[in-house]
Structures are given as C-alpha cells and as structure tokens.
C-alpha cells in the first residue's frame, strides 16, 4: 500500500499532466486512503473477520465552454500513474460537453481544530480495538435475562484525505469511525427482536454496555408490546429519529434548492406551516462538533467547517451552501450540511412524557422517510411506549403520520441534551397534532 501524500506517484503524475494540459481551466484533486477492520458474530460465535484497505484519487477538471464552466470527474486508484494523461484527456473532453454558470474554487483558509480522530481506531489499532469491542459485546449480550444475542457487526477504521486545487488550496485530514450493529432477541409469549445501529468517531463514545442494555430492555418489552390507540395526541420522537424527521428542512434550506427554485423556503420568512403553538424552532448545521459523524475540517470543495444557524425562532435565516451555490447566491459559503444541532428546551423529558392524557414516545420508526418537498410522513412504530395515567405500555405497530412543517408549529423540546453521532440536541421532541393510527 502506498501512502496518499503529495509524493504519491499517481498524484505526482496527475499534477504534472494538469500543468501541461492547456484546456484545463481549474482542477481539484481529492485523495483518500482507508484501512479498516470488520467483525461479524452469529450469536456470540465469530462468523467472519475482514480487513479492508484501499486508496483512490478523485480528480475534477473544469474547462471553459463559452460563458459556461464545464466540469467532469475521474477516479483513479493508486496504480494509475501511467494512466494520468489519458484520464485527464478524457475528463477534459467530457467537461467540454457541458457547463454550468461559472464559479470559483475556494482558496486556502484558516482550518478549524475539529476533533474527528481517535488513535484507538487508527489503522494500527483498528483490529485490536475491534476484538476488544467484540469481547465486550459478547459479555454484555450474555448479561441480560430474557434476551439472547442474534448477531453483531462491527466496523472500524481510519480514513486519510488530502484535498488540493488549482487555486492553491492544500488540506489534509484524518478521521476515524466505529459502527456497531446489535441484534438481540426477546424471549416470551411473543418473540421479538431489537435492532440497533450506532456509529461514532471515537471508540470511547461507543458505550457497549448502554447500547446492549437499552436494546435488551426494548427487546424484552417488545414481547408484550401492543398496537397504539388511534387518535390525535402527543407524540414524542426520540433523538435517534430526529435527523430523518428534519431531512425536509435540510433539503429546503440548501443553497442548491434556492438556486434551482425547488425550495419552499424564503430567507427572512417563517418556515411554511401552521402558526406556532409550541416553542420556537432553532436549527444549526454544526461542522465543528467534537467527534460528530458529519463534522469536518474542510468540506468536499475545501470550505472550512463551521457552525451555522439555519433557522432562528422559526424563521429561515440563511441557507447552507457549498462553494458553487454560494457563488451563485452571492453569499459566503457555509460548506456542506454537517451535524444537525437543535437547542434544548426547558422541560424535562419525563414531564413531556407524562402530560395530560395519552403520550406516545416513539423510540424508533420502521423507516421514517418524509416527503422532501411537502414534509408529509407516515411511518410504522417499530418501538415505542404509551404513557397514560402513570402507566408505561410498550408499543409496536400502528403508525404516526403528519407534516414535519406543521408539526414544528406545535413542538416542545426536552431539556436533556444528547449527542447521537450526527445529532446534538434534545433527547426527545414532543409534537402535538400528529395522527396515530393503530387499534
């Protein structure tokens, strides 16, 4: 394995040929190298262990095509030095067949300090850490009465990135990631399973005891779960589902959406939806959150990571925008959308759960995929709890439906802040006005 660095033969060859090719107006080169370890358990026995490694160089060339700027990308591996000239020729040809309004590549910037690397997950340590986590998982999975392990998958490793462009920008970064899939089976009159998928940047943020413990409790509870009663009543959506729920906000708040005129949002105007009856909604894209899954020092084009407020008190304050769309909209680029951050409220989660009447707390949906434009959604409850008169009843089945935009008009945010990989915000958000369809 060669290393991705300014001295890589493929990178050297590409630089040389890019300088020689007169049709290339601008270019960007993103080199990535990864080393990883994968472990698969069936029940508690090792099924398979895998080691992975690879290196790629993604070259984007820009050519002038009349008033337009053409662009094309080519991906090369670490054995492609001899193919550099040919691949650049091909890319120049492809770029010359199209074009968008011109924009410029970012220049060198002051890079923020962003913590996204954990030595325990580095290439040298990935295999050992993987085995230690697998052992911890085995021990924890055996420690809970009424449940038994079905399977586990564990991925961890390191990725190095170097980004350079014709505007003089050169940036390096190294990031780590660990991902754990836990499947536990609940034993009872009604067998059940609980699926948990947790990803973090740092091994110590992957709390195996807590993950398995929570999955075990829910697997046990699901053996006696019932379908929720139908009606309109309070629904708390857990932090694990908030990123999915807010996807239409992210989409409509993008610079690209505004430029393409596909967005429903207008800068300075309230989000579409009903008049606010709940607490005001605020939202940030946070690229510098420590160990956030979507934190970055620089984005795909080399824009420095930052924390940006997108919605303030229910009003769309500014779009998030990559360099291309920021140029089109004559604004400062924010970089790609990063970790979702939502400020907490003042009400403890326990109070939100135990309001007047029924409250359904949805721990996880089967698959929450709101309509990106309308914001409408309907999803089956995979795991939930119904709180009524001080009694907690496990729930599985039935569905929750509504509109994200309307729901935000009647939202109450929990006081407790949690970090869930790419989400930093309230542990749960209570929405009044969603429809529960069940028994």
């Amino acid at each position: 394995m060669t290393t991705t660095s300014p001295t890589s033969p493929t990178v050297e060859a590409l630089r040389k040929e890019l300088a020689r090719n007169k049709r290339v107006h601008a270019w960007q080169l993103r080199s990535t190298r990864h080393v990883g370890s994968q472990t698969y358990l069936v029940k508690t026995q090792l099924e398979s262990e895998r080691q992975t490694s690879g290196e790629t160089h993604e070259l984007t060339v820009f050519v002038k095509n009349g008033e337009l700027l053409g662009r094309a990308t080519a991906t090369l591996d670490d054995q492609s030095a001899a193919a550099a000239e040919r691949r650049i020729d091909e890319s120049v040809y492809m770029a010359g067949l199209g074009g968008d309004a011109p924009w410029t590549l970012p220049t060198a910037d002051q890079w923020p300090e962003v913590q996204i690397f954990d030595p325990a997950l580095s290439a040298a340590q990935a295999r050992a850490t993987s085995r230690a986590v697998a052992d911890a998982w085995r021990a924890e999975a055996a420690a809970h009465p009424g449940v038994r392990p079905s399977s586990m998958e564990l991925f961890c490793g390191e990725e190095w990135t170097t980004l350079e462009n014709s505007a003089g920008l050169v940036a390096h970064g190294s990031a780590t990631r660990i991902s754990l899939l836990t499947l536990l089976l609940g034993e009872g009159s009604k067998p059940s399973e609980r699926y948990s998928w947790v990803e973090r940047r740092r091994a110590s943020d992957l709390d195996v005891k807590d993950i398995v413990g929570r999955a075990a409790e829910e697997a046990r509870d699901l053996t006696r779960a019932v379908v929720p009663p139908s009606g309109q009543y309070g629904v708390i959506i857990d932090a694990d589902e908030i990123v999915g729920l807010m996807a239409p906000i992210e989409t409509n708040a993008s610079g690209e959406g505004l430029y393409q005129k596909s967005s429903r949002f207008e800068v300075g105007k309230p989000l579409p939806g009903e008049a606010a009856k709940g607490e005001s909604f605020n939202m940030y894209s946070n690229a510098i959150a420590p160990y956030g899954l979507t934190s970055y020092v620089f984005d795909g084009n080399g824009v420095a990571g930052r924390r940006v407020q997108i919605v303030k008190d229910g009003v769309f304050t500014q779009p998030w925008a990559t360099k291309q769309f920021a140029d089109y909209l004559h604004m400062t680029p924010t970089g790609g959308f990063a970790n979702l951050e939502i400020p907490t409220g003042n009400t403890p989660l326990e109070t939100l759960k135990n309001g007047d009447g029924k409250v359904l707390y949805v721990r996880s949906f089967s698959w929450l995929t709101p309509d990106q434009q309308r914001g409408n959604f309907s999803s089956e409850v995979r795991v939930g709890y119904l709180y009524e008169k001080g009694v907690r009843t496990p729930i599985k089945g039935g569905s929750v439906s509504g509109s994200v935009f309307s729901a935000l008009g009647a939202a109450h945010y929990a006081k407790e802040q949690v970090f869930r990989g790419d989400y930093l915000g309230p542990e749960g958000i209570r929405f009044d006005g969603l429809t529960v369809s069940g028994a």
Binding site: T52, A72, T75, L185, W197, V243, S366, R382, S401
Partner: protein, 504 residues
C-alpha cells in the same frame, strides 16, 4: 470505503443511490468510440486480462493451507449525461469502486482480506498475510466445491453505449429535455439524466472461473413545480441492463408523468384505516420484496431472526400466491449470471401455491444449516461482506385481467408508484410506501388522490387476504438495503393484486 449513510440515502432517495460508478472503462469505451485517434483508450481496458489467472494462482496457494478458498473481483463504474434548466453535464457517476476480496474458510469461520486494487503485488501480499495470520481450526463444517465451470457473460444490447459518442449521448439527453412541457407555468424545473453503468465480476474457486461484464442504463426524468405555493413533482424512468435503447421515455411514459405532475398538487394525506386495496404491479413488488423476500434470506435463519423459519413447508399465503426470485431473467436491474459466491443463476420458487418451500441462501447460511445453495450471495462492493440477498423478486401472474381486478374494487384504494419499504423478518410486521392512493367508491374512482400512502400490517394476514391476481406481471427497478446498509440493485414486481391492508 465511502459509506452510504442513512442520511445520504434519505436525502438522495432510492433512485439516485442506484446510480452506478467507475474505475476504468465505460468512459474509455465511449471515448474510444468518439474518434479514431484514441487507440490508447481502446486498448487500455483489457478486461479481464491476466486477472483470472492471477486470482486462480492465489486461490490455489490458499487452498494448500485452507479447506476452502475463493477470490472475487468486483468493480462498478459509470458515466452520466444530464441536463436541467441551469446547465448540462457529462461526468463519471455514482460511487466508483474496484477491488478484490480473498476469502478462506478455516473449518468453522470465514476470514477475508479486501484490497482496493487489482495490483498483483498487493494481492500476493494479502494472500501471504492470510496464510500467516489465520490458523486452520476444528473442521466443524464442510464446504462442498461447486461443479467446475469456466464461462464469461456480457450484456446483450441493441444500442451498445460503446458505439455512441458522448456528444451524441448528450444530444439525446437534450432532446429528451425539450420534450418536457415548459409551457405549463407551474413547472419550475426539470432534470433529465442518462447514466450508463458497468458492473464487472470475476469469481474464482477450485475449478471455477466465472467472468461477467454487465452494462446497465438508468434514464430518469424528474420535474417539479409549485401551484399556489403547493409543491408538486413527478418522475419517470427507464432502468435496467441493456444499452441506450433504454435512454428515452416513451410518449406514453411522458404523458403519464405530466398527468402525475398536475395531479400531485391536489393530493392530501390518507385518512388512516383498513381498506380494500388494489396494488399496481410496482406496489405488488414492494409487498413481495418486504414480506417474503427479506423474511426468507437464510442468513437470518442462522441468526434466529426470521419467523419464516418456523413455516418452511407450511401455508403462509392464499393458495393463488406463488412467489419467485430469479436473477437469471435477462435485462433487469437485479439480473446477474452468477452470484458473488460463484453460484450460477437460476429461478428459486419461494412460495408455491401459498406454501413456503425454499429460502434464499448465501454460502454461510447454506454451510451452517446444511442446505442446498441458491444464487443469492451478494455484496454491495468489494469492501463489503456477502449476505443472502434478493435479485428479481416477484409474485407470479394470476388468471384475471388487470381490468377485472380493478373493477372488483368497490370501496377502497388503488395504490400506485414505488417509494420505499422496510423489512421486519422476526416480527413479520411490514411497512412500505406507495406514491399515491386513488379513492374508489361504488366501483368508481372519486378523483380524490392521497399521497403518500403507507401500508402497514402483519405479513401472513396481508398475503392470506390476497383474493385476486392479474396476468400483467411487471418488474420495477430499485435498490435494496439490508437494514439500512449494504445496498444492491434489485427489481421487485408482480401483477395487479387485490388484498386488504391498513393504509395511513
């Protein structure tokens, strides 16, 4: 490894995640076709070249120590041409990747080394590492070698993309763009794109040398707009293996898309409830895929995850229901000549006349459970593990005409359009979402359209409630995840069918 995260999947949605990828080639072939001087490009893409022999040598070396060894080369590449109101582009598309997985079995466990390169020296180093670091253990299981076979496959095409220049491809995309109804002031934007993808596989094990070079086209037209502030959109596509004959919509498809666009402004949420329903073929496919597709992937049996395990040989659906998985049907997105563990393709009947008769296997589950192998061991890419996966999964035709099935719907909903779904193999719950549901009263459509329409319920109940199946089987392309990861191209389908379900 560039993981497709759940967020990325949600935002990009199924169709675009499906877009394919690169490394060397389709670009080279296309460019080679554009003009004479590019002989270097034409000769540079020598697939499979010496790689088959190289992998066979490494497998033989590994088998000197291990009872079973194999090698899989997997690559994905692609070139897209697209046009929207703001510009046009030709570029590499999707998530290009190329690499080799070397696998050994020590008698109880599998060990793999996955290298993102076809470099012989890197492969030899990985082979040496496996021999050095993995011990042969207790011989708990035996893997029987497959029959010797040496064969290569290529996609059959009417218009081979290699014979059409990229400039001509861009021109075709622009023509398609001009066909969109720009006179309607509600149309604010549209995008036309044609992706040509190439998927290559080499599988080598003892006596087996299989090579495939598959070309697929993903032609998509999307339009969006607003009417009095209400958003609306519609899309249509022509997706599958083949050549640029798939690179345009028919007039009927375009007309249907325009109608859906206009109708999309007036949709409203479904009043949740239990309904008599008729599913259009694409929605029947969602039911097939999520009910007895994922639920019978046999790696789930090994993990005690599948309720279906208790029902092998027992009735699970109405007697008129037969369900198949068949990667050997040519030309579809889920088609392949052999799976990623070297089993050549053939149809598998999963449910026959309402009885569950055969699960889908990968090597691991067939080995651990001692059952015959089916051609369903598949991987997302070289750096991911193989699992038991579906290919083209569908309900077989019934005997009624589609009109007879629709005419039978007195008060209920007619669900059309493929959105997404998720499995629940242990709980046998089901969730899938159709684009629209049309209300029927007294045997006639009322004109009211609901969107989207999510079906939830209990698998045996929905399957047992199927009372009519039409004879108009269609397959719909999609991308299938295992849970929320491990994405592979598939199709799912069926004829129009009638059942009863909870819709919200």
């Amino acid at each position: 490894m560039i993981p497709i995260t759940r967020r990325r999947f949600l935002i990009q949605s199924g169709a675009s995640v499906a877009g394919t990828l690169l490394v060397s080639s389709v670009a080279e072939q296309l460019l080679a076709a554009t003009s004479a001087p590019r002989t270097a490009a034409a000769t540079a893409d020598a697939f499979p070249g010496h790689l088959v022999d190289e992998l066979a040598t490494l497998v033989a070396e590994l088998e000197r120590k291990f009872p079973h060894a194999s090698a899989l080369f997997a690559s994905q590449s692609g070139v897209s041409a697209s046009r929207d109101r703001n510009g046009k582009r030709v570029s590499e598309s999707g998530f290009p990747s190329m690499g080799v997985t070397l696998r050994v079995f020590d008698g109880s466990e599998f060990h793999e080394s996955a290298i993102g390169s076809g470099d012989p020296e890197a492969l030899r180093a990985a082979t040496r590492d496996l021999i050095k670091t993995v011990s042969v253990g207790k011989q708990t299981y035996e893997i029987k070698p497959l029959e010797p076979q040496a064969q290569a496959w290529r996609t059959t095409m009417t218009i081979d993309p290699a014979t059409v220049s990229l400039a001509d491809r861009m021109a075709r995309v622009e023509q398609e763009f001009d066909r969109i109804n720009w006179n309607d002031p509600r149309v604010k934007g549209a995008r036309v794109g044609t992706d040509v993808g190439q998927t290559r596989r080499i599988f080598v094990s003892r006596g087996r040398r299989l090579v495939s070079d598959l070309t697929s086209v993903n032609h998509t037209v999307f339009m969006f707009g607003f009417d009095k502030g209400h958003p609306g959109f519609a899309f249509a596509r022509n997706v599958g293996q083949g050549g640029l004959e798939r690179g345009a919509l028919t007039d009927a498809q375009l007309e249907r898309m325009r109608k859906e666009f206009v109708e999309s402004f007036g949709t409203e949420p479904v009043p949740a409830g239990d309904y008599e329903v008729v599913f259009a073929p694409s929605v029947s496919g969602l039911l097939a895929h999520e009910s007895f597709g994922h639920g019978v992937e046999m790696d789930q049996f090994v993990k005690d995850r599948a309720k279906a395990q208790e029902f092998l040989g027992k009735p699970v659906a109405a007697k008129i229901v037969t369900l198949l998985d068949d990667p050997s049907i040519a030309g579809h997105r889920g088609s392949y000549p052999f799976d990623d563990e070297g089993v050549t393709s053939a149809p598998t009947t999963i449910i026959k006349d309402g009885v569950f008769v055969q699960p889908l296997t990968d090597l691991m589950s067939a080995t651990f459970l001692g059952t015959p192998r089916t051609p369903n061991g598949r991987t997302q890419a070289w750096d991911r593990k193989v699992y038991a996966r579906m290919s083209n999964t569908f309900f077989a035709n019934g005997t009624s005409s589609p009109a007879e099935v629709l005419d039978s719907l007195k008060d209920g909903l007619y669900l059309e359009g493929f959105r997404n779904g998720i499995e629940d193999p242990q709980g046998w719950g089901i969730q899938f979402t159709a684009s629209t549901a049309r209300e029927y009263k007294n045997g006639k459509p009322t004109g009211k359209i609901f969107a989207p329409a999510t079906v939830t319920g209990y698998v045996p109940e929905i399957l047992s409630n199927i009372t009519m199946l039409a004879n108009d089987l269609e397959l719909e392309p999609g991308t299938c995840g295992k849970g929320w990861k491990e994405f592979v191209p598939v199709t799912s389908g069926g004829p129009h069918l009638r059942t009863r379900a909870r819709v919200s």
